[in-house]
Each structure stands twice: as structure tokens, then as C-alpha cells.
């Protein structure tokens, strides 16, 4: 399987009053194409920090990614992380930032986030702006990252106006061999009822009309937008770091020129803008695809008017709007009731089947993992201690921590299970235990564990464990 995202030796720390929190010690994993990778572990083990490190959303100060690699295609997202800041050892460690580098990296990451990597959070409110309607917010991401597609659909639509009108008036429509065709195909599949198809048809025609009126302007926009996309895609495919550097510079220069916030504000004012009309149609279509009842009502509402489950559907639709390569979902159902959780998980699975995005699903619930993921990484105190296919992990857990975790879950389906506990508490990551960080709680601990950090060992194909119990065996074999 082709790896979409590869994380290697990621190390993140927080520099706070009490000392340095070694939140991620050495995290490595990869996500295959179309795979759902679960990351599971107890509170404070570094699941969210992993996600935030990959997307560079760690609040700084106090936090910094201090080392490691995150490869998306051929591009290392952490390529110049070391240039961003120096550390000065005084009574406390002080960070000296290099703000020029940081600003440029920030511009570059704005491209990556939302387009190639999207994220959804435990609290959907965190991802939404309380003062804009749902429609504005979806349209904004679409305009930021998905302009090319919207423009292409409109261009094609303006060429097929008469067919579209016939379609609206009740006739059949042939499926074209381009973006518009795909779109019509999708509408036919997902639209719920005549009303909804009608809405699509009207907006398509309105947008196409607007497009043909100012053909020149939009053609120009399309050309630029395609160039921009190509540049971005080259960034991920080009193996040469110096070329990458040049492309990043060019992109940064461009994004300084194009003030997207101003642009989307202007568009909001001009309700007749065809790009915005197409954006609205697409938003509607997105909400339909996440099974929201009454999508037109939801488009016009503000976040606080919606329930937690609805909001999470909205954020999922925004996150998937641009068909990202990787979707990181940080405890997306933890704040929801089980019945709503079941709805959301089903939705994620269905969408994943449909569009094939790779998903990193972070949760503390092994039940959720069992039902949704292909592969699992178990985290403990800033390390991935075990990684395997889902079935393998549940059938054949190896790491003492994984075993303890599995034994401590109460089961609805098994009345006779006696709950075992893992003694002790999650360690303080300012002064984490030496050697294996699990050793103070481990029932199998022996001398070596207290001094030497175990390395990852493959016990069977695709099943790796970080534990000294297994290194001995491998040596013997």
C-alpha cells in the first residue's frame, strides 16, 4: 500500500513554568492510502499533540516541535523546523523565535491545512466561527482551496446551458465527460427529492449565466487558479528540496498578494457573484452528503443554533470539502451521545468508502477503534508502544499496556468479565520515568526496563511492539 503520510521520530515539547513537558518522545507511524488509522491511548498520552504537531497547530509558546519528520508525498512538512527557534538554557529554558521563518512557514501551512490535511475536533465549535452562518463558512473554505473545480464546473455549465435548461424543464440530461458531468452524476445519486435537484439546477444555471457574462475575467481566474494548483501539487511530488524551497517561496509571495479574507468578504457582499453561487450549491451538496436533514435551513443557521451532532456533521463536511489526502479526527465523537456517535461513525465510514481519504482517528475508546479502523497505534506517555492491524491487535495484544487496557474495559456483551486494573497513574511528562516510560506500572517489569528505552520491534508482519520482553525473543531467533 502506498503511504500518504509518514511520521518519523516526531518530538514535541512544552516549555512551561514547572519545566519541560516531553509530550512526544519519539513518534513514528505511517498512514496508507484509503486507510483508517486509529490512535488510542489515555488522556495526556499525546494523541492531540501528535495531531496538532502534524498540522502545526501547537500553541507556541509554550509548545514546539523540536524534531522529526512529517512526509506528505515527497515533502517534509518539518523541513526547516530547526530554523524557527533557538533554545537558550538559563534558569529555565527560553525560546528565541525567528519570526521571519515562522511567518513564511505559516503561509505555507495555510496551503497544506484544509487542502491536503484537514482536521476535525472534539468540540466542533472550536472549528467554527460563531458570527458567520454555516453557508459562509463552508463557502469560504471552498473558495480558498477549491476554486479550480468550481470554476471548471461553471465553465462547462456555461457551455451546456441549453441542456441544463432542458434538464430543469423536466427532460433527461446526458452525462458529460468532465467536472460538470461528475457533478451531475453526484447530484443524481445523493440529492434527496425533487426539491433538492431543482435547487441544484437553478443554481447551476444561475452560476453559468454569471460566468458567461464576464467570461474573460473568469477564464483568467481559472487559468491562474490551475497554475496555482499545479504549483501546489508539484510541491508534494517534486523530490528535490531546493525546487521545493523555490515553490514555497513563490507560493508565499502569491498568497501575500492575494488577500483571501478581503476577497471572500467582497464576494459575500456581491450576492450575484457566480463563484459564490456555485460555492453555495456545493455547500448544499456537501451538507446533503453528510446526511443533514433540512440542509437549506442548516446553511442559513449560526453554529450555536445546531446540536452537537449536527455541528460535527457540518465540520466533517467542511473538512472533506476539498478531498484532502488525510483527515485527522481528534476524538470526533467523545462529546456526543452513543446514539449520535453511532450516526457519526457510520457517516465517516460511508464517506471514507466513497472518497477514499485516509483518516487518522484519534480516540480513547477501543470500541470505536474496533468498529471503525483498519490499523491501530496504541500510545502511552508520548510513545507509540504497539501498532498492528485491528484484528491482530485485539486477538493478539503484545504490549503489557495494551493488554491492561483491553482488560480494563467493561463490556456490554460479556457479563462475566471481571475488570482488571492497571495500577498507578499516567506519569508526569516533565520528569518521565527513565527507560521504558511504562515501567512503574508494568507487571512484567525487569531491570533492563528501568534503564533502557525499548525500540520498536516487529513481532509479526505489520505488528510492532516497543517492549523489552520481545527484543529478547527476536535476538534469540
Amino acid at each position: 500500500m502506498e503511504d500518504v503520510l509518514v511520521v518519523k521520530n516526531l518530538k514535541t515539547q512544552f516549555f512551561i513554568y514547572e519545566g519541560v513537558v516531553k509530550a512526544l518522545e519519539d513518534v513514528s507511524f505511517s498512514v496508507g492510502k484509503g486507510e483508517v488509522l486509529g490512535i488510542v491511548g489515555e488522556t495526556g498520552c499525546g494523541k492531540s499533540v501528535t495531531a496538532y504537531s502534524i498540522t502545526r497547530l501547537i500553541p507556541d509558546p509554550p509548545g514546539r516541535v523540536v524534531g522529526g519528520e512529517v512526509r506528505l508525498g515527497n515533502l517534509d512538512l518539518m523541513r526547516n523546523i530547526k530554523d524557527e527557534a533557538r533554545f537558550v538554557q538559563k534558569k529555565r529554558i527560553k525560546i528565541k523565535h525567528n519570526y521571519r521563518v515562522i511567518r513564511n512557514n505559516e503561509l505555507f501551512f495555510n496551503t497544506i491545512r484544509g487542502k491536503y490535511i484537514s482536521m476535525i475536533f472534539q468540540e466542533p465549535m472550536a472549528a467554527l466561527n460563531p458570527v458567520y452562518t454555516v453557508e459562509d463558512q463552508i463557502a469560504e473554505t471552498l473558495l480558498l482551496h477549491n476554486r479550480t473545480r468550481l470554476l471548471k464546473i461553471m465553465k462547462s455549465a456555461s457551455g451546456h446551458l441549453s441542456e441544463l435548461e432542458k434538464w430543469r424543464d423536466g427532460g433527461e440530461i446526458e452525462i458529460f465527460d468532465d467536472e460538470l458531468g461528475e457533478e451531475i452524476d453526484k447530484i443524481k445519486k445523493t440529492a434527496r427529492g425533487v426539491e433538492s435537484i431543482r435547487f441544484h439546477q437553478d443554481l447551476l444555471i444561475e452560476g453559468a449565466n454569471g460566468f458567461s457574462k464576464k467570461m474573460q475575467k473568469y477564464e483568467e481566474m481559472l487559468k491562474k487558479s490551475i497554475e496555482h494548483d499545479e504549483l501546489e501539487d508539484r510541491l508534494l511530488t517534486d523530490p528535490n528540496p531546493t525546487t521545493q524551497q523555490e515553490i514555497i517561496k513563490r507560493l508565499a509571495k502569491e498568497s501575500k498578494k492575494v488577500n483571501l479574507i478581503k476577497m471572500s468578504k467582497q464576494m459575500k457582499r456581491n450576492k450575484k457573484d457566480p463563484l459564490l453561487i456555485e460555492g453555495r450549491r456545493e455547500s448544499f451538496s456537501l451538507l446533503e452528503s453528510v446526511d443533514i436533514p433540512n440542509p437549506r435551513g442548516v446553511l442559513k443557521s449560526y453554529p450555536h443554533e445546531l446540536s452537537g451532532g449536527m455541528l460535527q456533521r457540518v465540520t466533517i463536511s467542511i473538512a472533506l470539502a476539498n478531498n484532502p489526502k488525510v483527515l485527522i479526527a481528534d476524538e470526533p465523537t467523545t462529546a456526543l451521545d452513543v446514539t449520535v456517535q453511532a450516526q457519526i461513525l457510520k457517516l465517516l465510514r460511508d464517506l471514507q468508502d466513497a472518497i477514499g481519504t485516509s483518516i487518522i482517528l484519534i480516540t480513547h475508546d477501543l470500541g470505536v477503534i474496533a468498529e471503525t479502523c483498519n490499523r491501530v497505534a496504541v500510545m502511552y506517555a508520548g510513545n507509540i508502544v504497539e501498532m498492528a492491524e485491528v484484528k491482530e491487535l485485539f486477538r493478539n495484544p503484545k504490549h503489557p499496556y495494551t493488554i491492561g487496557l483491553l482488560q480494563s474495559i467493561p463490556r456490554v456483551d460479556d457479563p462475566n468479565k471481571t475488570l482488571k486494573t492497571i495500577p498507578g497513574n499516567v506519569p508526569n511528562l516533565i520528569n518521565p520515568p527513565q527507560g521504558c516510560r511504562f515501567h512503574p506500572r508494568c507487571p512484567f517489569v525487569f531491570d533492563r526496563c528501568r534503564v533502557e528505552k525499548p525500540v520498536s520491534i516487529e513481532v509479526s508482519k505489520g505488528h510492532t511492539v516497543e517492549c523489552h520482553l520481545f527484543s529478547g525473543k527476536v535476538n534469540a531467533e
Binding site: I16, Y17, P61, P62
Partner: protein
């Protein structure tokens, strides 16, 4: 017996140490803001001046003048610019500004402290009743508070002084009357939110009386915004007091060493000729004394607000 006493004292020591560590951490966060630290240092300097200044200087603002004239240095009635003998110069009638400004520090700070603390105590009391008990009592308290808040404070103080008598004591009273409603409002808001927290309910579930719950849990957890407000208000009280003196309403004897009053002496005696153009020091120096303190207090208040905001404690 000794073992018991030992354990009791070591327990006390442990409790004290924990609280001190918590304070040290807060202090560290405070000092991370250089501006707030400067504010704190200046305020501390003023406090030192207020406490020790009058003791060191002694005498009254005329002593120096009298001494100098006795020894043959002829002193005019017109203001003298800053000099070796009069570091801040003199104002009309040979009044030594340095001496006046230093002594004023004590009076101004003392009055402000009395006003703000009384206001805070009254406000905390009424605010916690209004917030915790609510009901009719709370409603009445809040309506009265609103009425007081809606009258401009300067007007209220002037009315007070005119109706009763124009003495320093009445002025202090008037200022207290002006200041309690702000605190009542803040405390009530704070109490309303703290009241909903689970530890308050746990205390009720343990059978704690309302008074006990309020004293043990609600007030200690609502008090921080009050500290911030106190430090911000301190400056406001001083400004208001200066304004009252300057307007001549707080007239408590011509030569009361009070910053507003020293300015007022200059403007009153110069009768028509603007003091500021001819004798800038008679106005600028006492005004600076006020300004620097008020600004520093505000910086300090902002710093306090930041450290008591858990989101900013990183």
C-alpha cells in the same frame, strides 16, 4: 505530647509552604511582564515615600522657607523655580512644593486606601448576598446599586460636600458612597458564576449553611477580580479627590498637602495670570506626581488581571 506538637507544627509548615509555592508561581508570571513589574516598583516607591517621607522630611512646607529667610536668604512670595534648596521649587507664599508633594503622598494614598477598601468590603458583602441569595433582597440591593451607578460620581460627591461640610472626613465618606456600587456589581456577577460550580453544591450536600458556603467557598473564589478592580480604582479615587480639591469643593484648609490642592493653590493665587505659563513647576510637578502613580496603578492592575486569568498562565 511533644510528638503531637511537632506534627502539628510541621503540618502547619507544610500548608504554609504549599501556599507560598502557589504565590511564588503567581509572582513569577507577574514579573514576566516588564511593564507590570515597572508599575509595581513605582507603586512600591510611592508607598515607601508615603510611609517614610513625612518622617524624614519632618516639619511643614514653610519650615524650610522660614529657616532660609532667617538666615538671610530673602524669599519672595512669588513662586521660585526648582533650586538646590527647593528641589521642586516653591509655589505662592513660599510654599515648598517638594515637601508638599511628599506629604501629599501619605494623605492621598491613605484616603484612596480607605475609600477603596471600605467600598470593596461593603460591595463584597452586599454583592455576595445579592448573588447567592437572590430573591427580593437581591433585587432590592441591585436596584439601589443601579441608582447609585447612574448618578455621575463627581456630582454625587460635590452634593455631599456641599450639603454636609467641606472637610476631609466628609470627602472620604462621600467617596466611599460613590465607590461601593461598582464592587457590588462585580462581586454579584462573580458569585453568580461561582455558585454554579460543583464544589459549592458539594458543600451544600455536606450540610454547610449558606453563610459558611459563602465565606469558605464563594468569596475566596470570587475575590481575585476584586483585587484587580481595587488596584485599578485606587488611581481613580486619587484622580477624583484631586479633581474635587482642584474645583475647590474639597476645600479643607488652604495648605492641606494634597496633590490636587497644590495645583489649586497655584491657579487660585495667580489670579488671572495662567500659572502654567509663568511658573510651570507649580502645576506640572504635582500633576506629574498624580499621573505617574495613576498610570503605574493601572499597569499593575492589568498585570494582576493577566496572572489571575488562568488562560494566560503559561
Amino acid at each position: 505530647m511533644t510528638a503531637n506538637a511537632n506534627s502539628a507544627s510541621s503540618n502547619l509548615a507544610r500548608a504554609v509552604r504549599t501556599r507560598f509555592q502557589s504565590f511564588a508561581k503567581t509572582f513569577y508570571f507577574y514579573t514576566r511582564s516588564p511593564i507590570a513589574t515597572i508599575g509595581l516598583i513605582i507603586v512600591l516607591f510611592y508607598l515607601l515615600v508615603a510611609i517614610f517621607g513625612p518622617i524624614i522630611l519632618g516639619g511643614d512646607p514653610w519650615r524650610m522657607t522660614q529657616y532660609l529667610s532667617f538666615h538671610g536668604h530673602y524669599i519672595y512670595n512669588v513662586p521660585q523655580p526648582p533650586s538646590r534648596y527647593f528641589p521642586f521649587g516653591t509655589t505662592f507664599e513660599g510654599y515648598d512644593i517638594f515637601n508638599g508633594v511628599v506629604k501629599a503622598a501619605r494623605i492621598d494614598i491613605m484616603v484612596a486606601a480607605i475609600v477603596v477598601l471600605s467600598g470593596a468590603i461593603v460591595g463584597t458583602f452586599l454583592g455576595s448576598i445579592a448573588g447567592y441569595k437572590g430573591g427580593l433582597t437581591g433585587e432590592v440591593i441591585m436596584r439601589v446599586t443601579d441608582i447609585f451607578l447612574s448618578i455621575p460620581s463627581l456630582v454625587l460627591a460635590i452634593a455631599f460636600l456641599v450639603i454636609f461640610s467641606r472637610t476631609l472626613n466628609v470627602m472620604v465618606l462621600a467617596l466611599i458612597v460613590i465607590w461601593w456600587p461598582t464592587y457590588t456589581r462585580i462581586v454579584r456577577g462573580q458569585v453568580l458564576s461561582v455558585r454554579e460550580l460543583k464544589y459549592v453544591e458539594a458543600s451544600v450536600a455536606a450540610g454547610s449553611s449558606s453563610v459558611r458556603t459563602v465565606l469558605k467557598h464563594i468569596i475566596p473564589n470570587s475575590i481575585y477580580p476584586i483585587f484587580v478592580q481595587v488596584s485599578l480604582d485606587f488611581g481613580n479615587v486619587i484622580l477624583t479627590m484631586a479633581a474635587l480639591f482642584f474645583l475647590g469643593v474639597g476645600f479643607a484648609g488652604y495648605w492641606t498637602p494634597e496633590w490636587g490642592n497644590i495645583i489649586s493653590i497655584a491657579t487660585t493665587f495667580s489670579s488671572g495670570i495662567p500659572a502654567i505659563t509663568d511658573y510651570w513647576w507649580t502645576v506640572v510637578i504635582p500633576a506629574l506626581a498624580i499621573l505617574i502613580l495613576v498610570v503605574s496603578l493601572n499597569l499593575m492592575g492589568d498585570g494582576l488581571r493577566d496572572v489571575t486569568d488562568p488562560r494566560l498562565r503559561r
